[in-house]
């Protein structure tokens, strides 16, 4: 029973990371009806810029336990937010009226540019890099269940970020603008909402969520790899699709569903845990066959 709870807990940490990526996809799709596939690689970039920030801190000689984490997160958010908005400004907005395939291929290629740049230009970038343990790994016992303190904090952090995003969308002026653009860009413009600025803000917001997810991923696995973004991007996209593109709660449910599937496979077939991803992708293909627009169907009336 205790082992079962540990699996559930680890699955939940994975789930919240997937959910953060999926929320980004949902936001982009909400405001501009595009899929920005460079998202996963923006996540990798966030993790690497967090790593560089930590190394810079060490170089200066500052070794602060919690402030260090906040600094790393801030740098990661800044870099990914800027890159996300930049990709939106230079490539996605000018192309928004061309076919879905062109945008998809283009953003995939932009992601490839980011991925290859990390591999080639980060020192020894082709090999996995150790990620600093910014949080104490102290094991905690809760009624016979052993949990790692850092995972617990990550889970709380993830939920906090998700709720903050939800609050931002629901209760701020920017959120109102984002929701207006998502419903009808032209009418929103006619009402005096700056279209381009709102879209760019959404891109920055979604991308910095990926940056946070990247740092969380690094802390959780204690290492990062240049190619991690491709897989996480696809998982996040699948999660957003399964939850129904355009809905934040759908994205979160999708993220947890995906993590649950992976964890379930490892629990049920511990000998074949290598097939975890094969199973997860097969499950996506089957789920898409049965529910072509997501399990929670895409809602055209209200988005984000």
């Amino acid at each position: 029973m205790a082992i079962f709870f540990e699996f559930v807990f680890n699955g939940a940490v994975l789930g919240i990371m997937y959910a953060l990526v999926a929320v980004g996809f949902t936001l982009f799709f909400g405001v501009l009806d595009v899929i920005k596939f460079s998202h996963g690689d923006v996540l990798t970039l966030g993790a690497f810029s967090g790593l560089i920030a930590f190394l810079a801190l060490q170089l200066v000689g500052l070794d602060l336990p919690f402030l260090g984490l906040i600094f790393v997160l801030l740098v990661a958010c800044l870099v990914t937010g800027a890159i996300g908005a930049g990709i939106g400004q230079l490539f996605v907005i000018p192309m928004r009226n061309s076919s879905a395939f062109n945008i998809l291929l283009m953003t995939l290629m932009i992601g490839t540019v980011i991925r290859e740049s990390i591999r080639l230009f980060y020192p020894n970038g082709a090999n996995p890099k150790a990620f600093p343990s910014l949080l104490p790994k102290t094991p905690i016992e809760l009624g016979g269940v052993f949990l790692r303190l850092d995972s617990l904090i990550l889970l709380a952090l993830g939920f906090a970020v998700v709720f903050l995003t939800h609050w931002l969308i629901r209760h701020t002026k920017l959120g109102l603008a984002i929701r207006a653009v998502a419903q009808d860009g032209d009418t929103a413009q006619a009402m005096g909402i700056p279209f381009r600025r709102t879209v760019l803000a959404t891109f920055a917001l979604g991308s910095l969520l990926a940056g946070i997810a990247g740092v969380m991923h690094g802390i959780y696995y204690s290492e990062i790899n240049f190619s991690v973004g491709l897989l996480l991007g696809i998982i996040g996209f699948s999660a957003a699709v399964v939850g129904g593109l355009g809905s934040i709660w759908g994205a979160i449910i999708g993220g947890f569903t995906f993590a649950a599937l992976q964890t379930l496979w490892v629990v049920v077939f511990p000998d074949a845990s290598g097939y975890r991803d094969v199973f997860a992708f097969a499950a996506i293909i089957i789920a898409m066959t049965i529910f072509p627009t997501g399990i929670i169907a895409e809602r055209y009336s209200e988005r984000v």
């Binding site: 291929l105 932009i110 490839t112 290859e116 290598g274 097939y275 293909i285 898409m288 627009t293």
Partner: protein
């Protein structure tokens, strides 16, 4: 037909042949760089001049005989470099990737069905060749079997693709591509990450490992693979070209351009999508089997998602839907990274940037597909 027009077109093709020989045989970095610069100038000049337009219309509008230029040109190139293993292998690779890209053109260029798992279907063909190689089945049958396996798996993947649209359909092919690779890596029966050895091809009892000798003419055994790949490429090129020109091609164009409109006119949209996807995957599978036989060895790392993107780069750079553009674009994508040692490591980065710029600023590619001329086709 205006004789002057034919002369200028033949001159351009002859120039392209000489240029390809120079590129393949180039030893020094500056030669490769100069060839690239010449190509850039030539492409801009030809596409601006009337001769370029005439060549394009000659290639698209003439009867099937015009396809003979491919074997004639490739044999000329192959004879010129007949002694060098590496150069011939690259020529064969260009033809093999070109064959796979004909498949992608039928899928995406004609019917508009997205396939982000090109390398996976290529791999299905390759692994079929690896598994069947030791059973003593004739090589040409193995090539067909590779195509059939890829088509078979494609016909399963097409079901979810048909039910979904746009982004969702793309996700399915991407998921399949990743699934295929991770399946190969964890599956010990197919060699795992180390891969499998593949039997070389033999045609009519003659192993292709024995080079052709002909008096004083002694060729590398890779010449055999060039000829085999050339035969397959030319055959399927001809079929694809006739397909495009026939009523089938017209239906595929209609399905791609306007799904609803096509179905209003009684075109079976789902049927044509299945047709294009399955036929395209067959070609990709044949190409994969041929590639595996030539390489003698395959591993999951040959069939990554990046390789799928590289194949798509070929058709996007060449010009989506233009069959003739596949060859020059394949030369650009396959040969140059090998030749320019400086960019070998950076090739995926360079092509990703190139494709992004093309999609952003020149969507039609280097050699845009010609618009269908109905009057002429009816008049023939």
């Amino acid at each position: 037909m205006n004789p002057l027009r034919v002369v200028s077109s033949v001159a351009i093709i002859a120039f392209a042949v000489v240029w390809t020989i120079v590129v393949l045989a180039a030893e020094e970095q500056w030669q490769v760089g100069a060839a690239l610069a010449v190509a850039a100038v030539a492409i801009v000049a030809v596409s601006r001049m009337k001769a370029g337009a005439e060549l394009a219309s000659l290639l698209t509008d003439s009867g099937s005989w015009v396809v003979w230029t491919i074997p004639v040109a490739v044999v000329a190139i192959a004879v010129a470099i007949h002694e060098d293993h590496f150069q011939l292998m690259m020529l064969a690779s260009v033809l093999i990737y070109g064959l796979a890209c004909i498949g992608l053109t039928i899928q995406f260029g004609y019917a508009g069905v997205i396939n982000f798992a090109g390398a996976a279907f290529f791999g299905v063909g390759g692994y079929t060749a690896a598994v069947m190689g030791s059973t003593g089945v004739p090589s040409l049958l193995i090539l067909l079997a590779g195509g059939f396996m890829a088509a078979l798996i494609g016909s399963i993947i097409i079901l979810p693709v048909l039910r979904t649209q746009g982004h969702y359909a793309a996700l399915i092919t991407i998921a399949f591509g990743l699934l295929f690779r991770s399946f190969l890596e964890v599956n010990p029966a197919l060699g795992g990450p180390q891969g499998l050895k593949v039997e070389g091809a033999s045609v009519a009892g003659h192993s292709l490992l024995n080079g052709i000798t002909f008096g004083s003419f002694e060729a590398s055994f890779y010449l055999n693979y060039v000829l085999l790949a050339l035969a397959a490429f030319t055959l399927f090129f001809l079929l694809a070209r006739n397909l495009e020109k026939s009523w089938i091609g017209l239906n595929l164009d209609a399905v791609r351009e306007d799904t609803v409109g096509a179905s209003v006119f009684g075109i079976n949209v789902a049927g044509w999508r299945i047709f294009a996807f399955v036929v395209g995957n067959f070609l990709i599978g044949v190409a994969g089997a041929l590639f595996a036989m030539m390489q003698n060895f395959i591993a999951p790392s040959n069939f990554t998602f990046s390789d799928s993107l590289l194949m798509l780069s070929i058709i996007v750079l060449g010009g989506i839907g233009n069959l003739w553009a596949v060859l020059p674009a394949a030369i650009l994508v396959v040969v140059f990274p090998e030749k320019l040692q400086g960019i070998g490591e950076y090739r995926i980065l360079v092509f990703a940037i190139l494709v992004v710029l093309f999609l952003r600023f020149r969507l039609a590619g280097l050699f845009p597909r010609a618009i269908r001329q109905f009057r002429r086709e009816v008049g023939q």
